[in-house]
Symmetry: none
Subunit: 213 residues, 4 copies
DNA sequence: TATGAATGAGGTTTCATTCAT
DNA sequence: CATGAATGAAACCTCATTCAT
């Protein structure tokens, strides 16, 4: 009398994995938005629930507690850039510049719209209080990223013009514009956000010499 | 010789401004440590009080409420780099490199030990939820800093070798290594912090060409 | 057959208006008792909750805060005598005496047991500090009551023996025995409360001449 | 150098009973005003102190605690009407009416301005929560007052025209207009206070028959 | 005596979590 | 599975009271 398709008579509802996954997703989506807007302690479970069109109690059917919800949100956030990094293999004979652009530009094109900028701000904001999460993030995102960067730096030393040499000891400098873009647009832009991709290209110009494009 | 008119009763115990200031300072010191460790919402007034060796109620003799305490902490934090910026006038005939080093190196020498790194992380972390404070910080610290940087960039365009030219549109890139150093050491270093000053010098080497030192 | 459009998930436990109303009522009952016994500031929310067999937090599901709870208690208290006043229309050809008895005696019969006496004391006690509530009470109870009294006084002037004439300028004197009964039994009776109805009848005897009953 | 007269050199100050009494009086005056305005629980010791131009601690040199202060204030308030009652002896051959006017009118002439009305409201308001004080008030004020009233009623029965007879069982009815005046002007007058003395006279007119004045 | 900084018990309110329906 | 009323620990803040000066 309720559902039309399955539910072959018997007792109650048959658990529908599709529906369950959908509910989980609704929660995660709402939780992400709320955590980003209010931080961990500022987030109210009831708001997350309302944002997902659910009742408070339902959250606890899917996540043990608020901490667990936070962890799942971050892990999901983290898994996506990770997949992107792992995905495409390097073309052969790529220049340093091309390699850096290939690695970073897709990430920065819709930095704010995609939520990645806010995620970075969230991790910066809450990382200190959630060392476990910071560690996960480090392991899943930062370390692979750093490995790629170091490869770039080394290939510059081997085959390039050596302009990256001064950064050999501090490869994380390559990521500095990304972090700066996230922080700047979050706090200091005063309503005039910078374009992260353009800023990164300017950084490459300054370090590698202007591109001819 | 004391007061001539009212003084209707005895003076009683005279408030000692020294002692009052000392208590205030104890509170601010403890509050800073706690806010840095736990963020605004994570900070418990009892802990701030205990950290200052005082009772809860005493905090409220000096600060209206938790928000006011937070404001005072941040304002005090903000006033320091501001003073630094305002302090020394530019020597004449200074090279671009010298100017940038003069502006940034003192800030970065004891970045972690001085607490400045943690302060930067605090502001990044809580700025979004305290827009008023973020605005103050922007006005008092970031904007003057940016003005100095833009002067440097322009003087490079005018009299230097023009290697800063690509950054003209994004002068905040000069500050990127500072932000990156704070974030890196706070979250991603995994126990192996970088030396912020050395990292900044490497950045300058990469952008301006290696120094001969 | 239930809802056609949204109903995105199951309905879960359906809120039971009966049960909700019952809980609200439990709270209001306990709150009335406590406010009457201790006044507004003397009332502790824990005690109200305990008196209703509930936990503190539950109060806040039904009433925004202590002020709101107090308002609801008083409004409920006020609504009852108001309804009584509005209820019965005057029979034709009623004597002054009969009219006054009809208006006041039902109110006074179980003055203490009904809680009306205590309510009057509560309003006298807290009215000064809750001007809004005093105004509501004035509008809902006192003013209608006074209108009825004035009608009585005028009909006495027109058709009666004029013994109420001296009170024409101060019709509230008719209510004085009621107020006195409440205050007397609350403070000054010393364990020997007066019978408010009997006292009111004595008052009528004194003013209108003894009844033959 | 401070005081001019006594203080014969030696150690510290010689306790000056005059000054002490004056301080006590300052406190009592301020406490009265504050208790009347805010009730017992609403009164802050610091406000009482400020109102007396003193510091908080000083209150505790003169009164053990807030309860004691309240008791002293009320006792002082109570002693005044008592003195009035005891003061003047009844003239011989006085009519009932004259006697009632002599007893009540001085009390009612400046009922509001003198603060007596507010005092009555205070006692009504807080009496329930301070049974001891209510008892004192009953013993010192109400009972003597009632005794006087009963004498009046009895002398009416003996020598008067007996119009007070219906009130013999409820002599407190005589006081009802006083209580009503206090309550009315405090809560229900809506900015148009009644004249308590005039109201009392109207009451006498209604009960004893109009005076020829 | 007088003072007012300091105390900490105690009050109101919030909100993560549970559980009967 | 979903619900939301109920819970109660825990946070912020107030203010009567103390006590060193």
């Amino acid at each position: 009398m309720d559902s039309v398709l399955p539910s072959p008579r018997g007792r109650g509802r048959v658990p529908d994995p599709q529906r369950t996954a959908q509910t989980r997703d609704l929660i995660l989506r709402s939780a992400l938005a709320t955590f980003l807007a209010r931080g961990f302690e500022g987030t109210r479970m009831v708001d997350v629930a309302a944002g997902a069109g659910l009742a408070k109690g339902t959250l606890y059917l899917h996540f043990k507690d608020k901490d667990a919800l936070f962890e799942f949100v971050l892990q999901q956030l983290i898994s996506e850039p990770l997949a992107r990094i792992r995905a495409d293999p390097a073309p052969a004979g790529e220049t340093i510049r091309a390699k850096l652009e290939r690695l970073f530009l897709p990430l920065l094109r819709d930095f704010e719209q995609s939520g990645r900028a806010t995620v970075m701000r969230l991790i910066i904001a809450e990382g200190a209080r959630f060392p476990t999460l910071a560690a996960i993030h480090r392991r899943l995102v930062i370390e692979p990223m750093m490995q790629l960067i170091e490869e770039v730096v080394q290939s510059d030393a081997a085959t390039g013009d050596g302009r990256l040499a001064p950064m050999a000891r501090f490869p994380q400098l390559i990521g500095a514009p990304v972090v700066m873009a996230a922080v700047w647009n979050g706090l200091w832009s005063g309503g005039a956000p910078v374009d992260p991709a353009a800023m990164f290209l300017a950084f490459l110009d300054a370090v590698l010499g202007p591109s001819r494009t």
